[in-house]
Symmetry: C2
Subunit: 349 residues, 2 copies
């Protein structure tokens, strides 16, 4: 019952949010009555506003100002009131040109992130998930370093390369390492990283109990290589662009708030955690303000969508901007971008 409110109230909320998004100013009853298209007086609107305020949808900054939407109000707005303006054919075509199949995943991500930032004039982000799933090992190679350390080079899929340094108990010659690599290549190449990590190594170890010394060493090394988080530096898998655009927004002119936000961007960890939550859902998802339970995003919203290959959500992309953003424009942009990226990935596979 607390959530129930009539058609007119809904309509008014919609118009109010739209108006506030446009102007950034609290919306008064007179203006709202005029803009609503309804043939009601300002007094009636005032009554409705009082109800909406009681429901926690709107609030007024002070007694004699108009109303502004609360996070909850925004939530209702985007969930059930928003009329999305689909992109024109033209726009989609323009966008399609942006994401050529060239370059590594890293490069693609950077380009998409920057594109999102540019077109929405907010901050763009692309997360590249740990490549544990859907990534098959192409080749493995060892190289001796000083101090009993070995450089392992993994080639994954078609484009991506990862380097890991492991430590071993003694010095190995180049020839020995070559042998180990050959063995591992013959056993592991073509398998998905996920499988390699969770099954194959174990099997190898178990089945070949009496195996010769060399294989034993090889497997020990491999275990060390694949034990690490696959993406060598855990922070490489998240690209943020155009953060500075956020400095242009009124609601973020408070330096301390801005600072908190930028520090969060630098941490990455927390943002990634947030994005991980989106991995489950389907289609465009929206975080409004600190719904995420994450204080620094106070006056911000995130609009995200997963991109996928073969029907499986691989990663997340989206934008971060002020809560007061043009959702009806941003949502289809993020949506289409995710689909185009999915398509580009499918094609390059």
């Amino acid at each position: 019952m607390a959530e129930e409110f009539g058609d007119r109230a809904q309509h008014l909320l919609k118009v109010l949010v739209e108006s506030y998004i446009r102007s950034g100013q609290p919306v008064g009853s007179r203006a709202l009555a005029r803009d609503s298209g309804l043939d009601v007086s300002a007094a009636t609107v005032r009554n409705a506003m009082a109800d909406l305020e009681e429901l926690g949808m709107v609030s007024s900054p002070h007694t004699s100002a108009g109303r502004i939407p609360t996070n909850k109000g925004y939530r209702i707005f985007v969930d059930s009131l928003l009329t999305i303006k689909p992109l024109s054919e033209r726009e989609i075509i323009t966008m399609r040109g942006q994401f050529g199949g060239e370059g590594s995943n890293q490069e693609l991500a950077a380009s998409v992130s920057s594109y999102l930032s540019g077109i929405t004039e907010m901050a763009g982000m692309v997360m590249i998930p740990r490549t544990a799933k859907r990534s098959s090992l192409r080749h493995i190679e060892f190289m001796p370093l000083s101090d009993n350390r070995i450089l392992a080079i993994l080639v994954i899929n078609e484009k991506d390369v990862q380097n890991t340094v492991i430590k071993v108990d003694r010095h190995y010659s180049a020839a020995e390492l070559q042998q180990s690599a050959n063995f591992l290549n013959s056993e592991l190449t073509g398998h998905e990283l996920f499988d390699v990590r969770h099954r194959i190594l174990k099997e190898l170890r178990e089945t070949k109990v009496g195996m010769e010394q060399m294989m034993h060493q090889a497997i020990t090394m491999a275990e060390q290589v694949f034990d690490q988080p696959v993406s060598s530096s855990d922070t490489d898998d998240f690209v943020l662009s155009g953060q500075t655009r956020l400095m242009g927004f009124e609601e973020l002119s408070n330096i301390d708030k801005l600072r908190g936000l930028f520090e969060a961007f630098n941490e990455k960890q927390q943002i990634l955690q947030l994005l991980d939550q989106c991995l489950d859902g389907d289609g465009v998802q929206i975080f409004i303000g600190d719904e995420s339970g994450y204080g620094v995003l106070d006056e911000c919203s995130m609009v995200t969508s997963g991109y996928q290959v073969d029907g499986e959500v691989l990663g997340i992309l989206g934008v971060i901007g002020p809560t007061r953003m043009a959702y009806e424009r941003v949502i289809p942009i993020v949506d289409v971008t995710a689909k185009l990226v999915s398509a580009a990935l499918a094609q390059s596979k």
Copy 2:
């Protein structure tokens, strides 16, 4: 003559700058007379101030405020008036513990940058120069990708790995690539990248006119690999930490200024250019305000120093902070850090 001014004026300028750095407030004649230790009256100080103002060393924000140093005033201060407080033995020992010889150059740079930021409470930066000099090629390896593209993997020195994708005219088999790599390894391994790029390939091409097909291909590939800027992504060689700390400073509370600064940080290019200028000089160098001819650094100073191996300056590290920073503390910190990094690099070599 324009630059000449007496001992007392110099002393007063020194005390003024120190006082302003401490308080951030314009310094009045009375306070300055008191703090100077000189047995003179405020009126005398006022006369001296008038002279200094004429010389462009100080200025007053408005008629009835005290004086603040201009960039030129700061310049004189750091060049000839500053008494540097050397670090205590204790502090140096603590610092020495920070930079273990572990990890790649990238990791070392990140750690140093972050350390500088932490201890100075400003932004730290470390530039890793293109590894063209002082970097010897350890190993080269090719791997076929789709679409006639080849992944080239370079191992440089002991720790660093670089990946480059090149395009070729036809498909090469793994065996063919192995052959090419073997050939190149035998010819190039152990040489410095700089030489490889500028001499050896050329020589090879010239001397072996009638060489067999395979070698020809190998050299063509190698030329493509080494033609690129050696650091695969040109932006990887600059690590900045703690930018957000800059948001805490009064003089950068202007959002637009801050935005310009952060955009410059994102560009990297321009900052790198600036740092390149430091490569020539010896010891600690200081940029004050927009001396660099670089507007966004308006109210900022950079304190930098080169770090070196075998007597050759390899890269630059330092800090960025407000012009009004505690130079007498920051300068020795940067100085010692550079020396410690040099030592750490020498050791790990």
